[in-house]
């Protein structure tokens, strides 16, 4: 079934979008939240398990102190209050990838609450209020085998891997975000992107959206313009890139608006996001009957971080994002527009790391915002997920600076890097991309070009230096692009002077 959509402008003329974002951050602690099992990604299924994370009868959880520390640091970085005393709670529901058929989470006593984060959209600051950040454990992972869709319906059988079960998660929940108006999709994207930057700066997670270290659920409802009454919301689950967050919000605004404008009412439900088609489809209906029967986890004692510890952790926080942006702009000498574009592309951290790896600020900006942004866009992925590292970009720029490759060849180096052909130097080597600096070969090619174009040569001899371009083109053609154009020009002018 295809949903009818209202155009975005028409939707915004009649309704105000209200956003809510729930982001799950998978922590990078060495062991799981309640047992000593390793959290290393990619191990053989069901090899990183023990009686505790398998929920075997009799096994009991023990809280990972490092997980609590990361939760507090995230809370502090989001300007939250840190609970003096809080408990874990059981969230009870049946699902085969949940070993105990309850998830150990937090309910009405989160570790962190009442915070905010300022996000920047097109150079303007928008404050997102944080409701809470709480600790919980991840579930196992089901793979449905034999069906066409990879979903459970129609599958032959399902396989469950419990390696992920018990990995610590922090769930960060915003308060309803109102007042973003037409920019709601961009605000949602900017929030998730800047939250990721913050998580990276804190060093508490790998924060790779494509690997599921960072998972966003997008809640959206519409209020009739000028009304304070919140509409019914939909919850779009597992939107796993910044651009998808933006697209999902836009889609849901248009879908809600069409239903409301047609006199219908929104069903409170979870929805699936489809990256390929850019639409959401109905998941399970969320009725009031869904009842997780939360109660405090009786096998764990309360978590009561001392104020001294909280202050110690506060002292380890990275610089706040607004101050960081101002500092970097000054250090790099970027114009306001350059800075805004860098932030908007989600490239701030990438540019910073590229500069740290040795590139100049302008070179770093140029690669990420032009060539690499174009490639990310074509591939439909976020820049960070493209598969090129800041160190590689700095490496390519170093080759350009050394005259080993020119800009055009550099683009072919990126092809090689994306194909996994090794370091920039190795790609140059394997693909034979280096600019020819053999003066003999170059000199011969120039002689050939002069001989083949006597008219042009005469013009240059007569002082019409601009005509050299035609000869340079001929030389580059013969050299299959692997020549330094400036040097070719020099040679031509020398020979014809």
């Amino acid at each position: 079934m295809t949903d009818t959509l209202l155009t975005y402008d028409d939707a915004l003329a009649a309704y105000d979008p209200v956003l809510g974002l729930e982001v799950h951050v998978e922590l990078n602690t060495a062991s799981k939240m309640f047992c000593g099992c390793s959290t290393v990604f990619g191990a053989e299924p069901n090899t990183q398990v023990c009686p505790v994370c398998l929920g075997l009868p009799g096994a009991m959880p023990v809280v990972n102190g490092k997980g609590v520390e990361s939760a507090i640091r995230i809370g502090l970085a989001l300007n939250c209050q840190i609970a003096e005393w809080c408990r874990f709670a059981r969230k009870n529901y049946f699902y085969p990838d949940m070993p105990k058929n309850f998830q150990t989470s937090q309910y009405d006593e989160p570790i962190a609450y009442d915070g905010w984060m300022d996000v920047e959209v097109d150079g303007e600051t928008f404050r997102v209020e944080i409701e809470r950040a709480h600790m919980e454990e991840d579930t196992g992972k089901s793979t449905h085998v034999g069906g066409a869709t990879g979903r459970i319906h129609g599958a032959d059988h399902s396989l469950v891997d419990y390696n992920r079960a018990g990995i610590p998660l922090i769930e960060i929940v915003t308060k309803p975000i109102r007042g973003a108006g037409a920019r709601a999709p961009e605000v949602a994207r900017a929030y998730v992107a800047q939250l990721r930057d913050l998580i990276v700066a804190l060093g508490v997670s790998e924060a790779r959206m494509d690997q599921g270290n960072l998972r966003a659920d997008v809640n959206l409802s519409l209020s009739t313009k000028g009304s304070d009454v919140l509409g019914t919301r939909s919850e779009t689950k597992n939107v796993n890139s910044f651009r998808s967050v933006e697209r999902a919000v836009r889609f849901e605004v248009q879908r809600h608006a069409a239903i409301l404008a047609g006199g219908g009412s929104i069903v409170q439900e979870t929805r699936h996001w489809h990256e390929d088609t850019g639409i959401t489809t109905s998941g399970r209906e969320k009725s009031d009957a869904e009842d997780y029967r939360y109660f405090p986890e009786p096998d764990l004692v309360p978590v009561a971080p001392t104020r001294d510890w909280v202050e110690e952790l506060r002292a380890t926080l990275p610089e706040n994002p607004t101050a960081r942006r101002a500092r970097l702009q000054q250090e790099w000498g970027f114009s306001d527009l350059e800075m805004r574009d860098t932030v908007g592309a989600g490239a701030l951290g990438l540019v910073e790391e590229t500069i740290a790896a040795g590139a100049s600020p302008q070179a770093a900006r140029k690669w990420w915002l032009s060539e690499l942004s174009r490639r990310a866009n074509d591939a439909g992925v976020d820049l960070v997920d493209l598969g090129v590292t800041p160190a590689q970009v700095a490496g390519v720029q170093a080759l350009v600076d050394a005259g080993t490759v020119n800009d055009k060849l550099a683009r072919q180096v990126f092809d090689g890097l994306l194909a996994g052909e090794g370091t920039p130097e190795e790609v140059v080597e394997k693909r034979g991309l280096a600019v020819v600096s053999d003066e003999g070969a170059l000199s011969a090619a120039v002689d050939n070009a002069i001989a083949a174009n006597p008219d042009v040569a005469d013009k240059i001899r007569d002082g019409k230096v601009a005509a050299a371009g035609a000869l340079i083109g001929a030389v580059m053609k013969e050299m299959r692009g692997q020549a330094d154009a400036a040097r070719v020009r020099e040679l031509i002018l020398e020979k014809l002077s």
Partner: protein, 507 residues
């Protein structure tokens, strides 16, 4: 030839230390006793003769080398089937865990193995420890050695009956609302529920996590103290375990055994006797108090008005926690798996439903339903939330009472052992058995049950309960040991000496 099965664990430990016997000899003696009587008693769900004898041999080798692992090294023990034992079946008395062999040991089981106690087998229990008669075991009831037509108490009837019928000198039990103490009372044995957090729960298949405690089941107070000291203490794998040393329990039991009670204030809890208690049980209780007073104790009457709400509170908190604990039994990873009849290619949900339907008994289902209801949104505050508040009030009543008395005393159970089947169709009557034992679990305080004699009406054992403040487990040992000694002096020996021998019982 000495019948080692009649000896206490302390005596066996001494005999081993003195070279009068070997662990293999006395382990074999207990296995022989089981072979002779357990067909009638049914204390065990699983006997591990081979494993126990192998451990006994290893123990004897340590003794021979002059390096026993503990004072109780070589003394065999029975373990309630609710504790995970690596390589040995652990069913919790339920069909749903039939065939499950845990890949790990409960901390207390690991402690037993390290200390060299051969594990004779796993004892019968009400399914998931829900019951007061062991009749709710999916594998058939245990019979009371005093009268095979009667219940041995529950849920730990298997451990109590094993000890009472001389099939084991020691056993481990678990006590959530009286599952160690009430079976102790009705089988004429000793049982202790330690302070909550005093013994590790890691590997105890939880009934109600905030109430459960592992504790000793023995024939003497001293033996309980020896076993309690062995398995007690901090366990980093149990976050609720107390990180401080146990009091000196063996010393307390030895002090009590002098029979001197001077300076000890004994509080008789008004709400834990009188109406609803069998006259013979009350008579033995009152005589026991008089004995303690004669030995120098001061008696005070204390009132704990909130105790009348203890049963209702317990039957909200327990099912709530249990309903969540039991959710993990879903046929996905271990234990029973039942495919629904007439369903082609059933879904995971359908298999879960069919398995839980077939695998759980009625009492378990009853409590899952109760607990699910008590936790449901809209009812949580009225039931679970309210119960937690009453629980706090019960703890306050204990605090006030312990300001007036060093220990509190009551009959352990309101009646002696009833007939098998008598209360099976009346859950409420069954629940009332735990009236006097439940408050201790709600408040986390320690308690002991020691035999107080036989009721005049039926000639069956009654129990005397001693409760102490949290962490003061030594007090229950002192008072329990004193009463044990004073009564033994009257009777000319332990109460169990009056039990039927079970020689030649029908298999």
């Amino acid at each position: 030839m000495t019948d080692w099965t009649r000896s206490t664990a302390a005596e066996l430990a001494d005999a081993l230390a003195n070279g009068e016997t070997t662990s293999v000899e006395l382990t074999q003696a207990h296995l022989d006793r089981t072979a002779a009587v357990d067909g009638a008693v049914h204390a065990y769900l699983h006997v591990d003769a081979e494993g126990a004898l192998a451990q006994a041999e290893a123990s004897d080798a340590r003794r021979a080398a002059g390096s026993p692992a503990s004072r109780l090294d070589g003394v065999p023990i029975a373990v309630k089937d609710v504790l995970a034992t690596q390589g040995l079946p652990t069913t919790c008395g339920s069909r749903i865990l039939e065939g499950w062999i845990p890949p790990y040991d409960a901390t207390v089981v690991d402690t037993l193995r390290r200390a060299g106690l051969p594990i004779l087998g796993k004892t019968n229990m009400d399914e998931f420890a829900m019951g007061s008669s062991t009749e709710h075991s999916a594998y058939g009831p245990t019979h009371n050695p005093w009268d095979l037509d009667r219940i041995p108490g529950g849920s730990g009837g298997g451990s109590a009956a094993a000890v009472a019928s001389y099939q084991a000198p020691l056993a481990l039990g678990t006590d959530t609302g009286g599952s160690i103490r009430q079976p102790g009372a009705v089988t004429g044995t000793v049982g202790v529920k330690p302070t909550y957090g005093g013994v590790s729960r890691y590997g105890l298949v939880a009934l109600a996590n905030s109430l459960d405690q592992v504790g000793p089941v023995t024939r003497t107070v001293l033996d309980s103290a020896l076993l309690h000291e062995l398995v007690g203490g901090h366990d980093p794998r149990d976050s609720t375990s107390i990180d401080q040393p146990l009091p000196d329990l063996v010393a307390a039991a030895e002090l009590g055994a002098t029979g001197d009670m001077s300076g000890v204030r004994i509080g008789v809890v008004k709400e834990l006797s009188g109406e609803g208690y069998q006259p013979g049980v009350l008579a033995r209780f009152e005589e026991s108090v008089e004995l303690l007073v004669k030995a120098g104790a001061e008696v005070v009457e204390v009132s704990c008005p909130t105790f009348v709400h203890a049963l209702a509170t317990y039957y909200l908190i327990l099912p709530a926690e249990a309903s969540s604990n039991l959710a993990k039994f879903d046929a996905m990873r271990y234990g029973l798996r039942v495919y629904p009849d007439g369903v082609d290619a059933p879904s995971a949900e359908e298999v879960m439903r069919a398995t839980r339907d077939k695998g759980f008994g009625d009492e378990v289902k009853r409590r899952i339903i109760l607990g699910t209801y008590a936790l449901s949104s809209g009812y949580y505050d009225a039931y679970y939330g309210q119960a937690q508040k009453v629980r706090t009030l019960i703890s306050r009543d204990f605090e006030a009472a312990f300001a007036k008395a060093d220990v509190l005393v009551s009959p352990t159970a309101p009646t002696t052992a009833f007939k098998l089947g008598e209360k099976l169709d009346d859950p409420l009557a069954m629940y009332l058995n735990d009236l006097a034992t439940i408050p201790a679990n709600l408040a986390g305080v320690p308690g002991i049950s020691v035999p107080s004699g036989l009721a005049d009406e039926d000639g069956l054992p009654a129990g005397f309960q001693v409760l102490a403040p949290a962490l003061a487990d030594d007090r229950v040992y002192r008072v329990g040991a004193a009463l044990e000694k004073l009564l033994a002096d009257q009777w000319g020996g332990p109460l169990l000496a009056q039990a039927p021998t079970l020689d030649g019982v029908a298999r």
